[in-house]
């Protein structure tokens, strides 16, 4: 029984690490994509705060 909990704890730690890295990659990608979209939008519309 203790061995089962031991493996569950290992899986929990490993899963949280993987989830953390995947979330980080997702956030970085989302920021980069949003930046590209907003820059493209600015380039098409032009800057109008003269």
């Amino acid at each position: 029984m203790i061995e089962l909990f031991y493996h569950l704890a290992m899986m929990l730690v490993f899963g949280s690490m993987v989830g953390l890295v995947l979330t980080f990659m997702l956030v970085m990608r989302a920021i980069a994509r949003r930046e590209q979209i907003e820059l493209a939008d600015l380039m098409t519309r032009g800057v109008n705060n003269e």
């Binding site: 704890a9 730690v13 490993f14 956030v27 907003e38 800057v47």
Partner: protein, 135 residues
């Protein structure tokens, strides 16, 4: 039972530590994104944004060379295991060096094969000043 709690404590502490570090990197990236957009709204180009495009290919090549060099060194180092008379000359332990070596070679090849098309595409335009800003 205590070993379960030990693993949980150490693992979750490490996760929290990396979470803080990665969160800080993401926050810095978000700040740069806001800065880039604010500058672009004023008709300016973020210096990092401009320089990054031209540096990207060099960075791929550089990281490929570093990875390949580390892989070659590890292959040589792990190859000494095969010098032991009780073990075969070649074995799966060499994978520890061959994998980074192959990744490095792949990165170098990619940066070379894409060089013609992408470097021209990524060079900053000569007319980086928007037309409506020209007097």
């Amino acid at each position: 039972m205590s070993s379960v709690f030990e693993i949980l404590a150490v693992g979750l502490a490490a996760t929290a530590f990396f979470g803080v570090v990665l969160g800080f990197i993401a926050f810095m990236r978000w700040l740069r994104y806001k800065e880039t957009i604010e500058l672009a709204q004023r008709g300016l180009i973020h210096p990092l944004h401009e320089a990054r495009a031209t540096r990207r290919m060099n960075r791929t090549r550089r990281s490929g060379i570093i990875t390949a060099a580390i892989g070659a060194a590890m292959t040589l180092g792990l190859g000494t295991i095969g010098l032991d008379p009780h073990t075969p000359l070649l074995g799966p332990w060499l994978l520890g060096g061959l994998i980074p070596l192959s990744i490095g070679i792949g990165l170098i090849a990619t940066s070379r094969s894409d060089d013609g098309g992408r470097s021209a595409e990524m060079l900053p335009d000569d007319d980086s000043i928007p037309p409506h800003k020209l007097q």
